[in-house]
Symmetry: C2
Subunit: 398 residues, 2 copies
Amino acid sequence: MRTTEGTGARQSTLRSSNLALVLRTVCAADGPLSRADVAVRTGTTRATAARLVDELVAGGLLDEGERLAPPRRGRPATPLLPGARIGALGLQVDAGLLAARLLDLRGRVVAERVEEDDLVGSDPARTLARLGALATDLLAGPAGELRLAGAGLALPGLVDVERHLLLRAPNLGWSDVDAVGLLAAHLPDGLRPVPGNEADLAARTVAETAPGRPGPMRDFLYLSGQIGIGGAAVVGGQVMTGSAGWAGEVGHVCVDPDGPPCRCGSTGCLEQYAGRHALLAAAGLPLDTAPAEVVARASAGDADVRRALDAAARALGVALAGVVNVLDLPAVVLGGHLAALAGPLRPPLEELLGRRVLSARWRRPVVAAVTGPPAAGATGAALRALGDVLADPVRRLG
Amino acid sequence: MRTTEGTGARQSTLRSSNLALVLRTVCAADGPLSRADVAVRTGTTRATAARLVDELVAGGLLDEGERLAPPRRGRPATPLLPGARIGALGLQVDAGLLAARLLDLRGRVVAERVEEDDLVGSDPARTLARLGALATDLLAGPAGELRLAGAGLALPGLVDVERHLLLRAPNLGWSDVDAVGLLAAHLPDGLRPVPGNEADLAARTVAETAPGRPGPMRDFLYLSGQIGIGGAAVVGGQVMTGSAGWAGEVGHVCVDPDGPPCRCGSTGCLEQYAGRHALLAAAGLPLDTAPAEVVARASAGDADVRRALDAAARALGVALAGVVNVLDLPAVVLGGHLAALAGPLRPPLEELLGRRVLSARWRRPVVAAVTGPPAAGATGAALRALGDVLADPVRRLG
C-alpha cells in the first residue's frame, strides 16, 4: 500500500487550481458527468476539459465508467466518476470507543472496525497502540488494494493543529499527548494521521454526503453532546476550525456568569447545564443512564428529570442564540446524547431561539437532530483527508 | 461615467479563475510585479502569465508603470499595478453622519464628502436623498474620469442582502426601508449600491489595507461601538457576513439571562452594558458625553464612571469569551466609542478573556483598538465593490 500525507496546503498555481476545479466539479455532481458536461460546468473548451480530465484519470483521481448510449445521436459519452481506488483512513478515539474507517473518493465505506470501551482515564500510549493495531488490521484486509491519500485522527479535545499535539481532552483525562506520534509507531510505515477535533470532523459528515458533495445543510451549528459538549460552526459547507484549530467550543459559552464552576476554570458554561453528566446529575440519575431512559422518565412526569431538561434547554437557548446572532446560522444540529434528547429539548429550545435571535422575526432558526452510525468523527477524518486531495490534486499526481 | 453593478457572484470558469488569480496576485503584492514575477507566483509559464496580464491591462484592471532598470542584465521589466482608473463608490448612513467616498483599485481615496449630523429618528426618504445628492456631487468632480466598477452602502442594522432591504436600524429608528431604491432615485443612471451592514464593512478596512491586500490582522472579532454595539467576525481575512447577511450581532450576545431588557426583545444583551448610551446612563452622564470625558472622569476617580466601565468590561469579557471559544479568534479589535475607551477597558477585558477562553492557556487573546478616519463603513463598502471585481474580473472585462 502506498501512503502519502495530506496536509490541506493548497498551492495557488494555475495547473493546480484548474485540475482542482475539474475534480471538484465531478465530485460535486449528483451523477456521472461526461467530458462535455465538465467543459460546460467549468466554462472552458472541450479540448481543455478533456486534457484536464485525462490527467486526472491517469492519476486515478477520476474513473471512466461504461459508455452510455448518448441522449441524442452522436458518439456515446464516457461517464466520469471520482476514483474508486483512492481512499483515506479515518481514526477516532473517544471516551466510549475506538474506530478505524476507510472511505474511498466516492464516499463509500470500504472497511471499518469499531470497538466500544470505557476509555475515560485510560493510558494514552496503550489506547493509541490499540487503535494502531485496529487500523493496521483494517489496512491488511481486502482494502489493501486502495491507494491511501491520507489519514486523519479525531480526538475529543483541543488539538494543536500546527504541532499536531492533543493539548487537552477532559473526557479522556488526557493532556499534552503526542497522540499522532504514539499512534504512528503502530501504523504502517510513514502513515501519520492529521489530528483534528472530533466535533469539527463529525460536523463535516453533515456538511458533505461524500468528498466534495454538498449535504442538504450548508450553514449550521453542530453540537456534539458527550460527557461535555463539543461543537462546530459550518459556514457555506466549510467547518470553521479557527486560526489555531480551537474553534467550536460551544460547551464553554457562558450561560450565566454567576453559574456553577466548570472544569475549564470558568463559570456557568453551557456544558454545566446540558452536558451529559451535568444533566444526569441535575436529574438525580446515575451517570450511565441512557438518553432513552431520560426521555421515558420525562414523559412519565418525573419532576426532577423535567426540571433538568428545562434547565438544559434554557441554557442551550441562551448560548446558541448568542452564537446564531454572531454567525447568522439558519440551523442548529444536535448530535450525540443531545440528538437522543431532541424530543423534549427541541420545543423549548426553538421557542427561546425565536425570542433571543435578533433576526428570528425574518427567519426562525431550525433545530435538527442527526443520528447516524457511531464514530462520525472517524468518517469526518477520512472526508477531510479526501478533501485535501480535492483541494490540491497536484500534490497527489506529482 | 460608466457604471456597472458588482454583486460578488463568482463564476467558476477557468478563464475567470485564472484572470482572478493573476489580478489578485498583483493586488496582494507589497510592490509592483513584473510579468515574470506573476508567472512565478501563479506557478504558470511566462507565456500564459503574459497573455492573462495583457488581457487585464487591456481592460484597465492592471496598469503598466514606467519600465525599471533590471536588477541584473537583461530587458527592463514593466512593473504592473492595480488599475488606477477603476474605482468604486462607498456610501454610508449612520446615526451621526452621511458619507460618500471614492476609492480606486489601488485603495487610494480619490475623493470624499462626509457630513456630520444627528440623524436619529430622521426621515429615511429625505436622508437618503441628501446622501444621493452628496454622492452625485462627488461623482461630478475630478473623480469623473474614474470608471466605476460598483457601489456599496453601509447601513447600521440588519440588511436583507437578497432583497437589498434595510430590515431594521434601531439607532436610526428605521425599519423595513428600501434604502437602495430611495437612494438610487438620486444617483446617476443605473447606479444601485449594494447594501451591507456597517460593522461588516468597517471590519473589512482592518482586514485589507487596499483591495486584495491583506492587513496585519487576518483573524479577529471587530466591535463597532455605537449607540448600540455592532460587530463582525473576520476569519482568514474574510468577513463572516452569514448566510443571510445578519452575522456579527455581538451586541445581542447574552451576558446575563436575568439582566435588563434590550430593545431587541431579549434580556441581558451585551449592548445593555457596553453600548454607548447604556454605559453613559450607568455612569450617570448625559448621553452626548464624549468618550475622552468618560476616560478623564475615570482617571480622576469618579466612582460611578469606574463602576460603569467595570460593568462594561465584565460584560464584554463574558460575551467575547463565548465568541472566541466558538470561533478561535486570536484578537478582538475595538472600534467606535469602545476604541476611545480602550484605555480603561482593555486591562480588565484581557484578564477576563484569559480566564474564560478555553485555549487562553496556549494563546491569550489580544485586545486592540482602531481609530481611523470617520465613516469606515463607506470605505469598506467601496473595498467590497472592488473585491467583487477581483473575485470575478470577467464580469468587468466582458
